[in-house]
């Protein structure tokens, strides 16, 4: 299947999802006007990826500087999909943040608590 690439803007992140390497990355800001609409293709790609890819290693790198509440809901649903597939794939999620960004750290900690069965690492930049 095709890879998914979206170039970031001031209010949407860079997104890169590679079907052959299993590496999924998002970086930047996320506050689109309609998060459901914006991230719908991302969800569709991910579901398609799991439906068509045999067992493989998956690495998810999330480096989101700021995200609005709609995006927060999306990330929850996004991780939920990985959670549903955790027994079928080896999944590693890296939540990357600037150590001065307390909100980003808290967000990472919250996801770790919400998804105890996923391997989520907190990784600092700098």
């Amino acid at each position: 299947m095709d890879n998914f690439i979206a170039e970031g803007t001031q209010h949407t992140p860079n997104i890169s999802m590679n079907a052959s390497t299993g590496v999924i990355s998002m970086s930047g800001q996320s506050y689109p006007e309609n998060t459901f609409e914006f991230y719908q293709p991302v969800m569709a790609w991910l579901l398609d990826f799991f439906a068509s890819t045999p067992q493989t290693d998956i690495e998810v790198n999330m480096e989101i500087i700021y995200f609005n509440s709609g995006s927060s809901k999306f990330f929850f649903d996004f991780f939920d999909i990985f959670d549903a597939e955790k027994n079928n794939y080896k999944i590693t999620i890296n939540w990357i943040y600037n150590p001065e960004n307390t909100r980003a750290l808290e967000a990472g900690e919250d996801f770790i608590e919400d998804f105890v069965n996923l391997s989520i690492n907190l990784v600092t930049t700098k």
Binding site: Q10, H11, E33, F36, R103, D114
Partner: protein, 185 residues
């Protein structure tokens, strides 16, 4: 035109910027956000305060945008104009974000319920409440007024809000103000 009067008001209230008018666009929001980021840099506010200020501003503005769109879709006829002000209280080193728009009486109930649920929670309780609400949430990410107010509460020190009935209609003026106390570095 009373420019000097307007300038005096802007200076006295430490207004950084304001927007007033009909449909608020995402483009305008992005520009205003960049302007706030720039303002934060000049005043050396630091990452935490900047993130809090942006959070309050973006959540409040997008709440208003979503509301105005929802109302338009339902063909409800009332003035969609909204006001957003970001200001700096010079004496007290506070930033504030103020909004005013028109809401129906049904939505007044919803908004009141959302705010009353969270206005007396401390930061830890707010964080816990936020996570619960997010877990419970529906499919549509775009709606999220409840989550939005919680985000605002987590990012500021005080919330003030008020509804005043518009004479001759079932609608209300809804005003909301979030105050952020800052210590400039």
């Amino acid at each position: 035109m009373h420019i000097s009067q307007l300038e005096k008001i802007l200076d006295d209230d430490g207004i950084v910027f304001l927007t007033y008018g009909g449909l608020l666009s995402q483009k305008l929001l992005v520009t205003m956000t960049e302007s706030l980021e720039h303002e934060s840099e000049i005043n050396k506010l630091g990452m935490e305060v900047t993130t809090n200020l942006l959070t309050v501003f973006i959540e409040l503005t997008q709440n208003m945008m979503n509301y105005s769109k929802a109302v338009t879709l339902q063909d409800i006829v009332f003035d969609p104009k909204g006001l957003i002000i970001v200001g700096h209280e010079q004496n007290k080193s506070n930033f504030y974000v103020f909004s005013k728009n028109t809401v129906s009486s049904k939505d007044k109930e919803k908004i009141t319920h959302n705010i009353e649920q969270i206005e007396h929670l401390d930061k830890n309780e707010l964080r816990k409440f936020y996570r619960e609400q997010r877990r419970k949430g529906s499919e549509k990410h775009s709606k999220g007024a409840g989550l939005g107010f919680t985000e605002i509460a987590r990012s500021c020190n005080k919330i003030h809000y008020n509804f005043s009935k518009i004479v001759g209609s079932d609608n209300f003026h809804f005003t909301f103000k979030a105050v952020l106390e800052i210590q400039e570095k």
